[in-house]
Amino acid sequence: MIDRETVIHVAKLARLGMTEEDRETFGKQLSVILENIAILQEVDVSGVSPTAHASRLSSIMRADESQPSYAPEALLANAPDQEDNCLKVNAVLEES
């Protein structure tokens, strides 16, 4: 059901690097899982509205008041790389 091309496509959507062996394993395992959950298709859901959340509430808003925040150093303490209190990343756009 899930062929190699689909695995490659979905892995790309999820930005998940993968070995050839992983592709094969996940292809097989996802096929088995999807076969097992295929029984969902038999349920008559005409007129049923979807549940996106278990909460019976609509979102509760708090007052829009400014609160003390964290020092940049505290928030950057876990960053793999930083410079001048900014996160440092590889170039997104490069001149060709």
Partner: protein
């Protein structure tokens, strides 16, 4: 005198307040117990000795000075490693967050700290709470204190095992599809999955946001009530937390369940449930009837769709929640390239384990163009039907009762097929989908291994299921038994 680590929270609290013992003594007894048995059980990813002793000392000062104290002041607890602790590593059982130190405390931690509780350490779990055995922890597997060759259940297996082995008086876990109740069942402790919205999730690392809930582990219903009391209630930082008032959970633990209507869902007796589990739970139901409950059959006709619905919705939400692990802001980061996309893909390839990747793939597939309606939308609609099953059942019954898990603790390595592992949660998943509450309590033994009795309650009916649990404990001794270690 009983060894200190065997006391209940209620007993220890009374002794602390009467100044018969100190929190330093109580905490030291638990740290000693951890040193004695955790080499075998491996419940903790981190033991915070210094912090624990400091907090214990502070608690003792409060007792000495006659300051206001709570039921949890000076009580040593363990915390699942998916709950953010300020400055203390919060790994989620993942290489991705191996060295992650949150800059803040989760709301539940702020509340435990304010209550004066003592934190002993962080407990092992399946990576990002995805699993039913702790075998998907990136670090090591926790062993079941009742049989070290068996799994403690999961994903909160470390918390369940710590409480079962006397390494903590209680613990926090999280339950997305059964991750509190199933390990509680396999380790012979009490595990409570709270109603969606009952406990703030601010600082709980997100797995599936429409399902995740935090809840307590303890060795009695009363102790679980004491922990719930400290952590329940609205929080301005979690927009899904409910403004519903928090009752006194201890007030109605009076042992009386006469006339209480208890429903037995006929669909919860499925092929694949072990005969020993069914026998124990049938006997428990008989016991509830003898205690004066009105027991009757009830139908939850969409039960069999619970696991399939869950394995669309939970992975779909996980695939979105786990998109944040990009190696830029925190966590593991692949650095050996100048290419942004390669860095991102390899960060996720090396940072995540197999089960997490499997679920990200499944969720991404279910949400992808061309499959969204057939899978995700369909699952959301069937979820409504499952919720309606409960709505109808709770019109006639106060509590529903079933096994918490179809089997007793299984051998480590015994379940290798992913979908077979998913079926571990067949009895626990529906309550997560509906958002209602449930508890697993010690319900007997089969071949020397614990069987969990699950009590399911309506929205915000934690007080009712705790009352039944406490009443059941008064006429049984399963919860008082200790594993040999």
């Amino acid at each position: 005198m009983t060894e200190l680590y065997k006391l209940s929270i209620q007993e220890a609290g009374a002794m602390l307040r009467a100044r018969q013992i100190s929190s330093v003594e109580l905490t030291r007894a638990h740290l000693d117990r951890i040193r004695a048995v955790d080499d075998k059980v491996k419940a903790f990813t981190l033991v915070t000795d210094d912090l624990a002793m400091r907090q214990a000392h502070e608690a003792d000062i409060h007792f000495a000075n006659g300051n206001t104290v709570t039921a949890l002041t000076g009580i040593p607890l363990a915390i699942k490693d998916v709950i953010c602790t300020k400055g203390i590593t919060t790994t989620c059982g993942s290489n991705m967050l191996k060295d992650f130190r949150p800059p803040f405390d989760a709301t539940v931690m702020q509340r435990l700290n304010a209550a004066g509780a003592v934190m002993l350490g962080k407990t092992n779990m399946d990576e990002f709470a995805m699993g039913s055995s702790t075998e998907h922890s990136a670090f090591f597997t926790t062993q079941n204190p009742w049989d070290l060759e068996r799994a403690p259940g999961g994903s909160s297996g470390g918390s369940a095992a710590a409480v079962a082995a006397g390494m903590a008086m209680g613990a926090l876990g999280s339950d997305t599809g059964g991750s509190i109740r199933q390990p509680a069942a396999l380790c012979n402790v009490v595990g409570l999955k709270t109603t969606y919205g009952r406990v703030s999730r601010y600082g709980l690392v997100a797995f599936a946001s429409s399902l995740d809930q935090i809840g307590p582990f303890a060795r009695s219903a009363r102790d679980a009530a004491l922990i719930l009391q400290a952590i329940a209630g609205p929080d301005a930082r979690d927009s899904t937390s409910s403004p519903q008032g928090v009752p006194d959970y201890g007030a109605n633990l009076n042992g009386d369940i006469k006339g209480l209507r208890i429903g037995v869902p006929e669909e919860y007796w499925v092929d694949g449930t072990q005969p020993g589990v069914e026998k124990a739970v049938r006997a428990d139901i008989e016991k509830l009837r003898e205690m004066g409950a009105e027991v009757g059959e009830v139908s939850l006709p969409h039960t069999k769709y619970g696991v399939p619905v869950y394995y669309i919705i939970a992975p779909a939400e996980a695939s979105a929640n786990l998109a944040r692990y990009d190696g830029v802001k925190y966590g593991y980061s692949y650095r050996d390239t100048n290419d942004m996309w390669e860095a991102l893909e390899k960060t996720r390839q090396y940072g995540f384990g197999q089960e997490v990747k499997r679920r990200i793939m499944l969720g991404t597939y279910a949400l992808s163009s061309g499959y969204y309606d057939a899978y995700y939308k369909q699952a959301e609609k069937v979820r409504s039907l499952i919720t309606e099953d409960f709505t109808r059942a709770f019109e006639k019954f106060d509590v529903l009762v079933s096994p918490a898990s179809p089997s007793v603790a299984f051998k480590l390595g015994e379940i290798s097929d992913p979908y077979e592992m998913y079926l571990q949660d067949v009895f626990t998943i529906p309550a997560n989908l509906a958002g209602t509450c449930g508890i697993s309590i010690p319900g007997g033994f089969s071949h020397g291994l614990p069987v969990g009795l699950q009590l399911l309650g309506n929205f915000f009916a934690e007080d009712t299921i705790l009352r039944v649990a406490d009443a059941f404990e008064r006429v049984t001794d399963y919860h008082t038994r200790w594993p040999e270690l």
